[in-house]
C-alpha cells in the first residue's frame, strides 16, 4: 500500500505575511512550516499504512527555494520520503497550476491512495485536490472525517450538512481530510533525528516535463486588481456583569424584536 500525502509548506500563520504591494502576491520569503491542515492527512496516512502492514507514506509538495522545513516535520512523524517540486517559474501559481504540478509529481509516485487537506490555511481555495484528481482521472471523496481501507476500496465518512455519508470508492483514489478529525502525533526525538536522513527528491519543472507556459505565474488566468481595507464595524456598549447583566441581554433582545 503506497499512500501519497500532499503537504503544503506555508509561512507561519502566527506571524502572517502581507501582500506585497507591488506584485500583489503573498510574501513567502520567510521560513516555511507544514500547514497544520495537512498534519491530519499525514496522521491518517501513517495509521492506514500501519493498519495495512508494511505500507509506505510518501509526501508530495510544491514550494519555493527547495524549502523542506515543513516536509521534515512530516518525515519526523513517520513518512518514508518526499517529492518536492521547486522552480522559480512557479512563483505566482494559481490553484490550477499548482494542481498540474502536484498531479505530474503524483504520476511519478504512482500511489494507491492520495490524501490532501480539505483546504489550505493560507490559500483556502479548497479546489486543488479535486483538480488533481480530475487531472489524474481519479475518483475523489472530499471532506473525510474518517478513512478505512477494505480490500480494493477506501471507505470514507464524508461530512455533510445533515451529518455524514458513508462513501465507498475503488482505489486508486484521492481523499481530502477535514481539519481536527484526528490528533496528529508529535514527532519523537528519534523521529526527528531519522527525518534528517530521509530522502527528499527535488524536481524542477523540466524534470516533470512541464513548461512555464502551462503552469506558474506566466500562465495564471486571473489577476488581483485591488486590495483595500474593509469597512470596520464599530463596537458598542461593554458592561461588566454584576449579577444582572442577563437582564440587559433580555432588554437588548426585546429591543431588536427577536423576543
Amino acid at each position: 500500500m503506497l499512500i501519497a500525502v500532499c503537504v503544503k509548506q506555508i509561512p507561519d500563520p502566527a506571524s502572517p505575511g502581507a501582500l506585497d504591494p507591488t506584485t500583489r502576491t503573498l510574501d513567502r520569503s520567510g521560513k516555511l512550516i507544514m500547514d497544520d491542515s495537512d498534519s491530519y492527512g499525514v496522521e491518517l496516512g501513517l495509521r492506514l499504512a500501519e493498519a495495512a502492514g508494511g505500507g509506505e507514506v510518501v509526501l508530495v509538495s510544491m514550494a519555493p527555494r527547495s524549502e523542506t522545513g515543513g516536509l521534515r516535520t512530516a518525515l519526523a512523524m513517520g513518512a518514508a520520503r518526499a517529492v518536492l517540486v521547486s522552480d522559480p517559474a512557479l512563483s505566482g501559481s494559481d490553484a490550477l497550476s499548482t494542481a498540474k504540478v502536484l498531479a505530474a509529481a503524483l504520476r511519478r509516485v504512482g500511489a494507491d491512495l492520495v490524501l490532501a487537506a480539505t483546504e489550505s490555511t493560507d490559500g483556502y481555495t479548497g479546489t486543488v485536490p479535486a483538480q488533481v484528481a480530475e487531472l489524474l482521472g481519479l475518483p475523489s471523496v472530499t471532506f473525510a472525517k474518517s478513512i478505512a481501507l477494505e480490500g480494493p476500496e477506501v471507505v470514507v465518512q464524508r461530512q455533510t450538512e445533515a451529518g455524514y455519508d458513508e462513501v465507498r470508492c475503488p482505489l486508486p483514489a484521492l481523499v481530502t481530510v477535514t481539519a481536527g478529525v484526528v490528533d496528529p502525533r508529535y514527532p519523537s526525538f528519534k523521529g526527528i533525528m531519522a527525518a534528517k536522513s530521509k530522502p527528499v527528491d527535488v524536481l524542477s519543472l523540466a524534470d516533470l516535463g512541464l513548461g512555464p507556459e502551462v503552469v506558474g505565474g506566466a500562465a495564471a488566468g486571473q489577476e488581483l486588481v485591488e486590495v483595500r481595507d474593509a469597512e470596520a464595524r464599530a463596537g458598542g456598549e461593554v458592561v461588566v456583569d454584576d449579577g444582572s447583566a442577563y437582564e440587559q441581554i433580555v432588554e437588548f433582545l426585546e429591543r431588536v424584536k427577536v423576543i
Binding site: 502572517p16 501582500l19 494559481d94 490553484a95 490550477l96 480539505t118 483546504e119 483556502y124 481555495t125 479548497g126 479546489t127 485536490p129 479535486a130 483538480q131 480530475e134 482521472g137 475518483p139 475523489s140 472530499t142 472525517k145 464524508r158 461530512q159 455533510t160 450538512e161 445533515a162 451529518g163 455524514y164 455519508d165 462513501v167 465507498r168 470508492c169 475503488p170 483514489a173 481536527g180 488566468g221 486571473q222 489577476e223 488581483l224 486588481v225 485591488e226 486590495v227 483595500r228 481595507d229 474593509a230 464599530a234 463596537g235 458598542g236 456598549e237 461593554v238 458592561v239 461588566v240 456583569d241 447583566a245 442577563y246 441581554i249 433580555v250 437588548f252 431588536v256 427577536v258 423576543i259
Partner: protein
C-alpha cells in the same frame, strides 16, 4: 468582455434549491441579460418553477448520478454547456460540499482557473470583478479573470440577497448524463442524519454560538437550550469543532459557514479574525466573555464581561419565565 449570459449551478437541498443557489440566480439577474440554471439528480424538472421564479430562462438537466458523488459527472455535463456559441460568459457555483468539487473538476475540463471564496460580484468596465474577504475580513481583495471565458466563480453563501421576481417556470433542457468511467466511481452507500430541530444555521434569525470558553463539551447544552428558547440555531467556533464537541456543520467562520442573522450571540468565543469573518455581517452582535480584552468586544453591540456558566443559565431562566 461584455456579460450576456450567466449560468448558475443549482443545488438541491431537502426543500428545493438551496438558498445559496437562489442568491446566485438573483445576483446574476443584475449582471447579465440572460440567466440560466443547471441542476442534477432525479426529477430536475420539479425545480423549474422555483428556478424560473428567481429569473432563470432555462434549466439544464445535467443527469442523475444516482448514488455516485456528483463532481465528475456534473462537471463533465457542464463542460459540454460551457463551449460553443451559446457558452455562458460566467458560471456561478455556490460554496457547498459538492459545489467546490464540481467547480474544481470543471476548471480542469475547461483548462480555466477558478475564483473561490467570492463574496461580491460587480461589473467594472464590462468585466466581472469579484470581492474576497482576506486576512479575516480586515481587507477586501478584488480580482478578475484575464483570459477567454467562461469564468468559474465559487461564491460563498449569504453574499447576496435571494429575491424572487415571479418569472415563468424555466424551460427544461436535458444535456446529461455524461459517462466518466471510473473517475465517477465514488458512491454513497448510506446516509447518517444527526437529529437537529429548529431552523438551520443559514436561515435562523438568531444564532447562538459557543466556543472554548464553555470549558467542557457538556456545557454546549447551554448553547443549544438558549438557541432553542430563541427559536434560533446553535453554532460553534472552530476550536470546539476541532476538539470534537460538535460536528463540522456547526462551524462559523472562514472555513465554516457565513451567517447573517438578526442577532448573533457569541458565548465564550474570543473573536479570532477567522471567526469574525463568518459572522460580522450579523445585524446585531451580543458577546459574553470573561476577558475584557477579548477581540469579540470590538465588534459587539452589547458586550458582557462575565462568566458564561453564570450568565447563560440566568438568561435561560429569564427566557423560560417569559414563555
Amino acid at each position: 468582455m461584455a456579460v450576456d449570459r450567466i449560468l448558475v449551478l443549482v443545488e438541491r437541498g431537502p426543500a428545493g434549491p438551496v438558498s445559496a443557489s437562489l442568491e446566485l440566480l438573483s445576483a446574476a439577474r443584475g449582471l447579465a441579460a440572460r440567466v440560466d440554471g443547471a441542476a442534477w439528480g432525479a426529477d430536475v424538472s420539479s425545480l423549474a418553477g422555483t428556478v424560473g421564479a428567481y429569473g432563470a430562462a432555462t434549466l439544464f438537466d445535467l443527469g442523475d448520478p444516482g448514488d455516485a458523488l456528483p463532481g465528475p459527472q456534473v462537471a463533465a455535463a457542464l463542460a459540454g454547456l460551457a463551449t460553443g456559441p451559446d457558452a455562458p460568459d460566467a458560471i456561478l457555483v455556490p460554496t457547498t460540499y459538492d459545489g467546490r468539487d464540481i467547480a474544481a473538476r470543471l476548471s480542469v475540463r475547461l483548462d480555466r482557473p477558478v475564483l473561490t471564496n467570492v463574496v461580491g460580484l460587480e461589473l467594472v468596465d464590462g468585466t466581472l470583478t469579484t470581492s474576497h474577504a482576506i486576512f479575516g475580513g480586515a481587507q477586501v481583495a478584488r480580482a478578475r479573470f484575464t483570459g477567454a471565458g467562461p469564468g468559474i466563480f465559487v461564491v460563498r453563501a449569504k453574499s447576496f440577497p435571494a429575491e424572487e421576481v415571479g418569472g415563468d417556470p424555466a424551460a427544461v433542457v436535458t444535456v446529461g448524463p455524461a459517462d466518466v468511467g471510473t473517475t465517477g466511481a465514488a458512491r454513497v452507500v448510506s446516509r447518517h442524519v444527526e437529529e437537529r430541530s429548529g431552523p438551520s444555521l443559514d436561515e435562523a434569525a438568531v444564532v447562538v454560538s459557543g466556543g472554548r470558553g464553555l470549558g467542557q463539551p457538556e456545557s454546549y447544552q447551554l448553547v443549544e437550550e438558549l438557541a432553542r428558547l430563541l427559536h434560533g440555531a446553535p453554532g460553534a467556533s472552530r476550536a470546539i469543532v476541532d476538539a470534537g464537541w460538535v460536528p463540522y456543520a456547526y462551524q462559523v467562520g472562514q472555513t465554516g459557514k457565513t451567517v447573517k442573522p438578526t442577532v448573533y450571540l457569541a458565548v465564550g468565543i474570543s473573536g479570532a479574525t477567522q471567526h469574525l469573518v463568518g459572522m460580522k455581517g450579523a445585524k446585531n452582535i451580543v458577546a459574553i466573555n470573561k476577558d475584557q480584552e477579548a477581540p469579540i468586544f470590538s465588534i459587539a453591540d452589547l458586550g458582557v464581561v462575565g462568566d458564561v456558566h453564570k450568565i447563560v443559565p440566568q438568561l435561560i431562566e429569564a427566557l423560560k419565565q417569559r414563555a
